[in-house]
C-alpha cells in the first residue's frame, strides 16, 4: 500500500559520533578500538569509589569543530550534567552528558536529494561519554569497559527530514563532514557512528504533528532507510484503521525488517538530571573559537563549489566531494593538471565501479589517471579504450602511454585505414547490409559493431561512423 499520497512523514535523527581522540573524555585511558577486553581501563572509567573525571581538551575542541562545520552557534558558557540510570554498561550509574547548556546549537547542513537541496536544521550538538560493551553468553552477560568513557558527540537534528532517502542523505553528509574534519572514523560497523530515528506521520495538509516513535538498533544507512519505510507504513496503517500511534521506543529487527516495541513512554526513565559538580564550567572565548575556525579544513560544500567552478558538472562534483578520500585524491589531480573534467568523469564512472566498499583504495595514481584522460582528449585512444584502461592498469604502476603503444591500443584516426576496415566489415556483413537496404535501420549497428571489432576496438568511433555512412551512402541513420 502506498501511503505517501495521503500521508507525509516528519523525521528527526539523533546521531552519536565517537571522537577519535587519543585518550578518553574523562581519563587518560586509550580509546583504541578492538583491543582485548578490559585492557584500556582505570579506576576513573570503571567508576571506582573516590574517583573523579578530568576533561580532555581535545574532545572539547573536536566538538567545537563539529559545531563550526555545521554552522552552529558555539556556547560561550557550557557545563556538564549527570544523567542518572542503572545499566551494567554504565559504571557510575550516571552518564556525564550535557542537558540544558549544550556546547553547540542552531546549526544546519544542506542535503541534496534527487537534485534538490534541502536545509536540515541541527538543534544541538553536545558532548558526553560512551558506555561499555555488553557481550551476551548463554546464561550471563559479560561487560567490557574499554569503550566506557570514549568521547561522543550527540548531534540532534530538527525534525526537518521528510523522507527515508533524505535521512540517508543527511547521514551521509554528516558523516562526510566529520571525516573531512578528521574528528571521527564514522564507521557504523565499529559503532563509531550510531543513529536513532524519531518519526511521526500526519495526513498531508495537516498542520499538527502526529505522535512520534523512536526507533533504535539500526547499524547501517540502508537499515535506517528500511526502518523508516517500515515505520511510516506501520503508522499510516494504524491511522487508516482508526487507531492511534502511541509514543514508544521501538527496536528495528534486521532479520524481519520490522520494528518492535521496546518500551512505552511511561516505562521510560526519569533521568534526574543535575549539573555535574566535579567538572567546573567552561567559558569558551571568542578568540578560541576563531582560532579553531581558522584551522577548519575546506569542507565538502566548498570543495564541491570549487569543482563546479573548474567546469565539472554538479553531479560529479557532488559525488567526488562526498568522500574525503576521493576528494583528497582529486585535489592531487587538480594540482597537476588544468583540465580535470576528463579525470572527474573517469573518477565518477570507471574508478567508482572498481572500488569495493567504503574503505577500498584507488589503485591508480593521479598521474596515471591524468595520462589516460589526456590521451583520450588528444584522440590517441577512444573513449571505450579510455574506460578499459582503468581496469587494465588497476593495481599497477605502468605508464599508460607505454601500455597503449605496447598493446596496440592507439586509436585509428586515419581515414584511409578506417575506410579499409569499413569495406571489410561490409563484406563480412552481407545479410545485415541487405536487411539495411530492405529498411531495417537497426541493422546498421551490427555492421558498425563488426567494423569496430575488426579494428580491435581502436577505431575512432566518430570517424568510423562517418566513413561507414559514406560507404553505405546512408546519411540519415
Amino acid at each position: 500500500m502506498n501511503y505517501s499520497e495521503k500521508y507525509e512523514m516528519t523525521v528527526g535523527l539523533e546521531t552519536h559520533i565517537e571522537l577519535k581522540t587519543q585518550s578518553k573524555i574523562f581519563c587518560g585511558c586509550s580509546t583504541k578500538f578492538g583491543d582485548a577486553p578490559n585492557t584500556n581501563i582505570c579506576p576513573v572509567c570503571t567508576g571506582m569509589p573516590g574517583t573523579l573525571p578530568t576533561l580532555n581538551r581535545a574532545a572539547l575542541d573536536y566538538a567545537i569543530l563539529a559545531g563550526l562545520a555545521t554552522n552552529c552557534k558555539i556556547a560561550s558558557l557550557t557545563k556538564f550534567d549527570r544523567k542518572n540510570y542503572f545499566y551494567p554498561d554504565l559504571p557510575k550509574a550516571y552518564q556525564i552528558s550535557q542537558y540544558d547548556m549544550p556546547l553547540c546549537t542552531d546549526g544546519y547542513i544542506d542535503v541534496e536529494t534527487d537534485g534538490e537541496i534541502s536545509r536540515i536544521g541541527i538543534e544541538r550538538i553536545h558532548l558526553e561519554e560512551d558506555a561499555g560493551k555488553l557481550v551476551h553468553e548463554k546464561d550471563c552477560t559479560g561487560i567490557d569497559y574499554n569503550r566506557c568513557g570514549v568521547p561522543l558527540i550527540e548531534v540532534v537534528s530538527r525534525p526537518d527530514i521528510k523522507s527515508a532517502e533524505q535521512a540517508r542523505g543527511y547521514l551521509q553528509k554528516l558523516r562526510c563532514i566529520m571525516l573531512y574534519l578528521g574528528i571521527s572514523d564514522c564507521k557504523m560497523n565499529e559503532g563509531s557512528l550510531r543513529c536513532d530515528v524519531n518519526i511521526s506521520v500526519r495526513k498531508k495538509g495537516s498542520t499538527a504533528l502526529g505522535e512520534r516513535c523512536e526507533i533504535k538498533n539500526m547499524n547501517s544507512f540502508s537499515f535506517i532507510v528500511k526502518a523508516i519505510q517500515y515505520e511510516f507504513d506501520r503508522q499510516c496503517e494504524l491511522y487508516e484503521r482508526g487507531g492511534t500511534v502511541l509514543p514508544e521506543t521501538r527496536r528495528y529487527d534486521q532479520a524481519t525488517g520490522r520494528t518492535e516495541l521496546m518500551r512505552t513512554k511511561e516505562q521510560a526513565n526519569d533521568y534526574r538530571y543535575f549539573p555535574e559538580p566535579d567538572i567546573p564550567p567552561l567559558e569558551i572565548s571568542i578568540e578560541h573559537v576563531s582560532r579553531l575556525k581558522e584551522g577548519l579544513p575546506i569542507l565538502p560544500d566548498e570543495r564541491k563549489s570549487s569543482y563546479i567552478a573548474l567546469g565539472i558538472k554538479s553531479s560529479s562534483a557532488e559525488m567526488i566531494a562526498s568522500s574525503k578520500y576521493i576528494s583528497d585524491y582529486f585535489q592531487a589531480v587538480i594540482e597537476r593538471c588544468s583540465d580535470c573534467e576528463g579525470v572527474a568523469n573517469l573518477l565518477t564512472g570507471e574508478v567508482f565501479r572498481m572500488l569495493q566498499g567504503d574503505d577500498d583504495e584507488i589503485r591508480l595514481s593521479p598521474d596515471q589517471l591524468i595520462c589516460i584522460a589526456q590521451m583520450a582528449n588528444e584522440g590517441i585512444i577512444n573513449r571505450s579504450t579510455e574506460k578499459k584502461l582503468v581496469s587494465l592498469l588497476w593495481g599497477t604502476d605502468t605508464d599508460p602511454r607505454k601500455y597503449v603503444t605496447d598493446n596496440s591500443l592507439v586509436q585509428i584516426n586515419d581515414i584511409d585505414t578506417l575506410k579499409g576496415i569499413c569495406e571489410k566489415a561490409i563484406m563480412q556483413s552481407q545479410k545485415a547490409v541487405s536487411d539495411l537496404r530492405g529498411g531495417k535501420l537497426t541493422a546498421y549497428k551490427a555492421i558498425l559493431g563488426k567494423a569496430m571489432g575488426l579494428s580491435h576496438g581502436n577505431a575512432n568511433p566518430v570517424l568510423l561512423d562517418q566513413c561507414m555512412k559514406d560507404l553505405l551512402g546512408t546519411d540519415d541513420i
Binding site: 570503571t46 571506582m48 569509589p49 578530568t54 567538572i279
Partner: protein, 474 residues
C-alpha cells in the same frame, strides 16, 4: 596516654631532635590504637606502620626535608588507601581494598607521615553521631552516655585519646568540626578546593572536603599546609597556596570579628557563655567584635539537606554489586542483583538519604527543590561575601547544643547541623576550637569562619585564642 602520645606534632619533632626514634613514637601510638576501647578504629595497620617507621629511622639525617617525619596519623575510613581496607563503615564496602591511594594520603606520605589505621565513622559520612556505621558506634571518651559526634567520630576520638598524633577526616555538613568539638580537639575544614578530593569516597561532591583533626592549632597548620594544592586528578582543586604556620604568631591586632546573632540566639547557655568569653578575649588581644544579623542563615539547613541528598543519591548509585563491594547472593536477575545488593548493603540512614535525594531530583520536583536549593546557596554565598568585605572572621557555635545524649531522637537531629552547614554550603573555611570544659568535664568549643582562601585569618585568631586560654601571652 603515655608521655609520647600526649605530645603534639611540634613537640614530637623536638623530641626527635633529642634522639627519640620514629619506631618508639610509632610503637606508643600503635599500642593505643590497638587497645581501642572507644571503637575509634576499624582497621589498625600496625605492622606496616612499624615497617614504615623503621624505614624512616634509616634516613633520619634527612629528617628536615619531611615536615611530618615519623608522625603517626589515622585516616577516616572513607579515604582510599591502596591495599588497605576502606569501608566507609558500610556493609557495602566491608571488604573493599582500593587499588589506589587518595591524593591526600600520598601527600602525607611524602611529608613523612606514618599511617597507623583507618577510623570509624557514620556510614558513608551520613550522620552526626558516628553511630550508624556497620562496625558499631564510636564511644565518647569523656562521657559514655554522650554522643562522640560525627561523622568523623573515630578520627576525633583517636586524636583526643592519643591513639594517633593527628587524623584526617571529611566534612560535608560539619563532620570534622562537630566531633572535634565533642572531643576537645581542633578540627578544620578548609576552603572548598584546597585539598584534593581524589580518593575521598564521595558523599556530596560540592560539599565534601577532607579536614584535619589535631591537638592544637599549630599542629593543624603544619598538617594542612602539606595537604593543599592543585591536583590534576581533581578538577575542582585550587592552586592557591597556604602559608599558615608563619602566620600564626602575627597576632590579631586590628582584626575584625563578628558574632552572628541568629546562631547565638539558638545556642544553649553554656555555649553562649563561651562565645561571650571568647569575644572579650579577642577585644583584650586587640581585635574588635561586633554582632551582625544574617537572617538568610535560616535557609541554609534546608538547602543543605536538599543538595547533599541529591548529590549523595547520584554518588552512591554506583554501589550495585557488579564491579566491587557487597554483592547479593541472589543473582537470578539483574534487577534482583541490584536491588538486593543495595538494600542489604546499605544501612537505613543511607537509604533514607538516597530516597530523599531521588525525590528532590525527580522531574516534577526538580525546580521546587533542587534548583531552589542551588539558588539559596547563591544567596547565602553572596550575603557572606558581602559580610566578609568588612570582617576577617566570624565567631559562632559549632552546634546549638554543647553535646547530646546517645541515641538522640527526633527530626531535631537534622537541625543541630545549622551552625556547621553554612561553611559547606558556601565553601568557606571553618575551624572548631576547644575553649575549656563545662562543669561535667564535657569539652566546649567555638567555631571560627573566614572568607574563601583566608585560612590565615582562622589560624591567627584560633592561635591567639588558644594561647590566651592556656593563660600564655600572645
Amino acid at each position: 596516654m603515655s608521655y609520647i602520645t600526649k605530645r603534639t606534632i611540634t613537640e614530637l619533632a623536638s623530641l626527635q631532635r633529642d634522639g627519640l626514634s620514629c619506631l618508639e613514637i610509632a610503637e606508643a601510638y600503635i599500642k593505643n590504637a590497638q587497645a581501642d576501647p572507644y571503637n575509634a578504629y576499624i582497621t589498625v595497620t600496625g605492622e606496616q606502620a612499624l615497617e614504615r617507621a623503621m624505614a624512616l629511622d634509616r634516613i633520619r639525617e634527612d629528617r628536615k626535608a619531611f615536615p611530618l617525619f615519623g608522625i603517626p596519623y589515622a585516616a577516616k575510613d572513607n579515604i582510599c588507601t591502596k591495599g588497605i581496607l576502606t569501608t566507609c563503615a558500610s556493609k557495602m564496602l566491608a571488604e573493599h581494598l582500593p587499588v589506589y591511594d587518595a591524593t591526600a594520603i600520598r601527600h602525607i606520605h611524602s611529608a613523612g607521615g606514618v599511617l597507623i589505621g583507618k577510623t570509624n565513622m557514620d556510614e558513608f559520612g551520613m550522620g552526626s553521631s558516628s553511630d550508624t556505621g556497620y562496625f558499631g558506634k564510636v564511644i565518647n571518651p569523656f562521657n559514655e552516655q554522650r554522643s562522640a559526634g560525627g561523622s568523623s567520630g573515630g578520627s576525633a576520638v583517636a586524636v583526643a585519646t592519643g591513639a594517633c598524633a593527628f587524623a584526617l577526616g571529611s566534612d560535608t555538613g560539619g563532620s570534622v568540626r562537630l566531633p572535634a568539638a565533642f572531643n576537645g580537639v581542633v578540627g578544620v575544614k578548609p576552603t572548598y578546593g584546597r585539598i584534593s578530593r581524589y580518593g575521598l569516597i564521595a558523599f556530596a561532591s560540592s560539599l565534601d572536603q577532607i579536614g584535619v583533626l589535631t591537638k592544637d592549632v599549630t599542629d593543624s597548620a603544619t598538617v594542612l599546609e602539606q595537604l593543599c594544592g592543585k591536583d590534576a586528578m581533581d578538577s575542582t582543586s585550587s592552586e592557591q597556596s597556604a602559608d599558615l604556620v608563619h602566620a600564626l604568631s602575627q597576632g590579631i591586632q586590628g582584626m575584625r570579628i563578628a558574632v552572628i546573632r541568629e546562631l547565638t540566639d539558638i545556642a544553649d547557655s553554656q555555649t553562649r557563655l563561651s562565645i561571650t568569653n571568647a569575644a572579650a578575649m579577642i577585644s583584650k588581644l586587640g581585635g574588635t567584635v561586633e554582632e551582625i544579623s544574617v537572617p538568610e542563615i535560616s535557609k541554609c539547613l534546608w538547602a543543605y539537606y536538599v543538595i547533599s541528598s541529591a548529590e549523595a543519591s547520584s554518588n552512591l548509585a554506583r554501589y550495585d554489586g557488579v564491579r566491587y563491594g557487597y554483592s547479593a547472593p541472589d543473582r537470578t536477575t539483574l534487577s534482583s542483583l541490584y536491588t538486593k545488593s543495595r538494600s542489604e548493603g546499605f544501612g537505613t540512614e543511607v537509604k533514607r538519604r538516597l530516597l530523599l535525594g531521588g525525590y528532590v531530583l525527580s522531574a516534577e520536583n526538580r525546580s521546587a527543590y533542587y534548583l531552589k536549593a542551588l539558588a539559596i546557596r547563591n544567596e547565602i554565598k553572596s550575603t557572606l561575601s558581602r559580610v566578609f568585605k568588612d570582617l576577617d572572621c566570624l565567631l559562632c557555635p559549632v552546634s546549638p547544643n554543647i553535646s547530646w545524649e546517645c541515641g538522640f531522637q527526633g527530626a531535631d537531629t537534622y537541625k543541630n547541623d545549622i551552625c556547621t552547614v553554612i561553611a559547606n554550603i558556601t565553601g568557606l573555611p571553618a575551624m572548631s576550637l576547644p575553649c575549656g570544659t563545662d562543669s561535667n568535664g564535657v569539652p566546649m568549643e567555638l567555631q571560627l569562619m573566614a572568607n574563601s582562601f583566608n585560612e590565615q585569618a582562622l589560624y591567627r585568631v584560633g592561635y591567639a585564642l588558644e594561647q590566651a586560654l592556656k593563660g600564655g601571652t600572645r
